[in-house]
């Protein structure tokens, strides 16, 4: 019992200063050259900048290479079962609104076996920060197609080529009414860090698709957009209120044409008046942007959509507070119910 007092009086860990405070004592067991290393390092660097005590941060994951992530973070962590991380995270966040809850998942974990949970965690706005590592392959089970694998892809389970049309994670998140939807690439750590920072500060569920390279089973899946020498031509950065301009010479942009988008070229510094200006609050625009794919378009990076909506745990707590006000808890009354009778001695 004397422990109880001491535990109560323990100091909070306070502002944690450096990345190394977030590095756990466990050996990182990803393949050398895996894109996950860069993401882990970026997250570990970001954490101390958020001003949230380490003990208030929880990483929850499912199954897959990416889902080993929590073991390497020196925070609280839960490596759960395949596809179910959003369910644990939702229960945890609602039970403990004081915690910041991150979910780490992959294209197989989050979009295939756990697809149902992902869409519900998003539509409920459960205030989870969901990192979806998309490498377009099953890595941990050694190379089967995933829900984001391209048509015709030859894998161990599809030697004649995939006949399953791939899912678009951004479009799925938008359709699930996610309040924050973004994309980053594992080779552009600056952009990744900025997107993660915005997600962390967003109130509500956030989905961040991270293009991640699986060096063993799907090497180069994103090379066109992750190769730094190509990125300026193959990607476009989304910034709220700014025109969609790209190209080495900043001479290309995106414009609305009917119900579709088109790539236009112009003299650097002189974009046409009707060039598309990004608006994070527009769902139709976000949906159009989500379908910008190679080779016809540059691939958008950054925040597709960011809007405000009440979060699940606050709505839950508000109902509880209201109920407590109108009828204070009285266990004796509860047990009695509406009708009682007395049996005399």
């Amino acid at each position: 019992m004397e422990n109880e007092k001491e535990i109560e009086n323990l100091p909070a860990s306070g502002p944690v200063l450096s990345r190394k405070d977030f590095v756990s004592d466990q050996m990182v067991r990803w393949c050398p050259g895996c894109g996950d290393f860069a993401i882990l390092a970026t997250v570990q660097k970001l954490m101390p900048t958020l001003g949230i005590p380490r003990e208030k941060i929880v990483f929850v994951s499912g199954i897959g290479c990416s889902s080993r992530f929590p073991y390497y973070m020196n925070t609280y962590g839960f490596h759960s079962i395949h596809g179910r991380a959003p369910t644990l995270a939702t229960g945890l966040k609602c039970a403990r609104p004081d915690l910041m809850v991150w979910v780490v998942t992959g294209d197989g974990d989050g979009l295939s076996i756990g697809g149902n949970h992902l869409i519900h965690a998003l539509r409920r706005n459960a205030d989870l920060k969901i990192l979806l590592f998309n490498n377009r392959i099953y890595g941990l089970t050694k190379g089967q197609l995933s829900p984001t694998s391209e048509m015709g892809k030859k894998t161990k389970s599809t030697p004649y080529g995939s006949i399953d049309y791939p899912l678009n994670p951004i479009a799925l998140a938008l359709a699930s009414e996610a309040t924050f939807v973004a994309r980053a690439v594992d080779t552009d750590l600056n952009a990744l860090s900025q997107v993660l920072d915005k997600a962390a500060k967003h109130k509500g569920s956030a989905l961040i698709e991270i293009f991640q390279n699986c060096i063993v089973f799907n090497d180069g899946a994103w090379s066109e957009v992750s190769d730094k020498s190509l990125q300026s031509e193959t990607t476009v950065t989304l910034e709220h209120g700014k025109p969609l301009v790209f190209g080495k010479n900043k001479n290309k942009g995106i414009r609305l044409k009917g119900w579709n988008l088109e790539v236009i070229e112009f003299e650097p510094g002189h974009p046409p008046a009707d060039i598309l200006i990004h608006d994070e609050t527009s769902s139709p625009l976000a949906y159009l942007l989500s379908h910008m794919e190679r080779p016809h378009f540059p691939v958008p990076q950054g925040v597709f959509r960011s809007v405000s909506r009440p979060v699940l745990n606050e709505l839950m707590d508000a109902q509880i507070a209201e109920a407590k006000k109108s009828s204070p808890a009285d266990l004796e009354k509860l047990l009695k119910g509406s009708e009682t009778w007395t049996v005399a001695a």
Binding site: N3, E4, E6, I7, L10, P11, A12, S13, Q26, R54, E55, K56, I57, I63, P70, Y71, M73, T75, Y76, G77, F78, H79, S80, I81, R84, P86, T87, L88, A89, T90, G91, L92, K93, C94, A95, R96, D98, L99, N116, H117, H120, Q319, I320, E322, A323, K324, P328, A329, L331, L334, L335, K336, G337, E339, T340, W341, T342, V343, A344, A345
Partner: protein
Amino acid sequence: MNTESKPAPHSTKKPMEELESVTIRFSGDSGDGIQLTGMQFTTSTALAGNDLSTLPDYPAEIRAPVGTLPGVSGYQIHFSSREVLTPGDAPDVLVAMNPAALKANIKDLKKGGILIANVDSFTPQNLNKVSYEKNPLEDGSLSDFRVIKVDLSRLTGNALSGLALTKVQVERCKNFFALGMMYWLYDRPMDGTLKWIESKFKKTPLLVEANKKALLAGNAYAETAEIFGFHYHVRKAKLDPGLYRNITGNEATALGLVAASQVSGLGLWYGSYPITPASDVLHELSKHKSFGVKTFQAEDEIAAIGSAIGAAFGGHLAVTGTSGPGIALKSEAIGLAVMTELPLIILDVQRGGPSTGLPTKTEQADLLQCLYGRNGESPVPVIAASTPSDCFDAAIEACRIAIKYMTPVFLLTDGYLANGSEPWKIPSVSDIKKFVVPTLPLPAQFKPYLRDEKTLARPWAAPGLAGYEHRIGGIEKQEISGNVSYDPENHERMVRLRAAKVNKITQDIPPMQVLGAKKGKVLVVGWGSTFGAISAAVKNLQGKKESVSAIHLRYLNPLPSDLGDLLAGFEKVVVAEMNLGQLLKVIRAKFAIPAIGLNKVKGQPFKIGEIESFIETVLRGA
């Protein structure tokens, strides 16, 4: 009916006969308001001071075609001036609102029993729907019974003639006319129902008036019309002194969970997905937000348990509730709770299976699923409630065990307990045993899988505490540190430790209560909702000086440590259960005795007579 020729307690125009106990079954179309009628009769009977037990029996379809057999809904109540242990083997009175209700239930009515039939619904069309070639009310086929034909629809219409009601609205009041008749016939007070009508229809004064009128008219009709020569009184039962209410199993489970949360000081989380017959627990708990209860209707069964595991990790008293099919879906996640050694209560309100099975009927066939239905060596304690009100205590006990031993715990009830009801002596809040979360060691001594010596439980360090940051998961754990480990020696040690921890719970199990002598010819072993029927059967046989005893298991895993000695004291052991012998298998395997199974899988609880005659056969050596 057991008739005693005592003078009636108070005089009315018609003579009153005293009865010791009565079983009534209300039956009709699922749109006839049968469940509501039954529940009203139950409340009034409880207020009249009788002991009672009820058995609702309704179809899985919300509105099967009107007048057909699949659409028949029933509600049976057994009430008495003596102890009532079951809803009654066979009804003394059958109220049949239509030919389908008659056809579905008449085989159960006692010879000489009263049949009250709504003749207005015995039209050629309705008779045809259930393949009656002739009207059974008129062809002499019911000569074994006292048939009382009432033109309910017409009489209700007459009673309500002055009111501006549609034909459909009038028709909907006929159940209250019938209820009014039953109140007179069994001398029940009507005040409760009159009050209920007022509050239920308070937004539509016309319906208040209509239903009240129908009730009172039915009552007056039974008293004055030349249909009943007398009516009956059932004296108050000699229950333990105290304050009582009527309660169903699902209500009791929900209240037990709230009480456990209150006495432990832990926030209650209930993650669930709608499923019959467990949904009422979700409905009940979702009302009690003022107790801080957090209910979560998940997107599926897996999400329901996932949310609960998340809440448990977060330091909450976490519960997920479902029925058999939901347990199947949750199995992998239950394994995760076993591996991460988090406290979690998994409520299984069993129903007929396999697959969708009989959603609204009762069965005890999930026992082996709960004991063994997971991958790997995955021991989970199992606790079963024995009566509707016992669900309250069983729920609290499941919570206590889960927290003390840091383990998922199954709480087994079933459709019969869930919807059945009985009087419950309301416990005083101060009598509910408190339980506490074991204290954490200081951060320097904290290891996620360092176990308590007495319970083998690991410490429960919820996020938010500085210095206790740690990671858990479904991969095998290194003993003490909790780090990922694939070491073969460690795995075997951990498998054995998890099993040993669950076995430690035997130290919390009180000595078994034996109904009867501790040695003898036959011992009947039961668990769960068969308690009432087994106890009544064994008491009857003991009254006949037979050497029979009974024990009822609350803890099905681990089994009580004194069970083996008790079993050894009898020549024969009968295990009675509503499955094909699941506890029987466990007992035969563990104690290597030739136990005999008494098994029933009809979606209906045991009748006392069925158990009694089986035991008699065993006593005779067959």
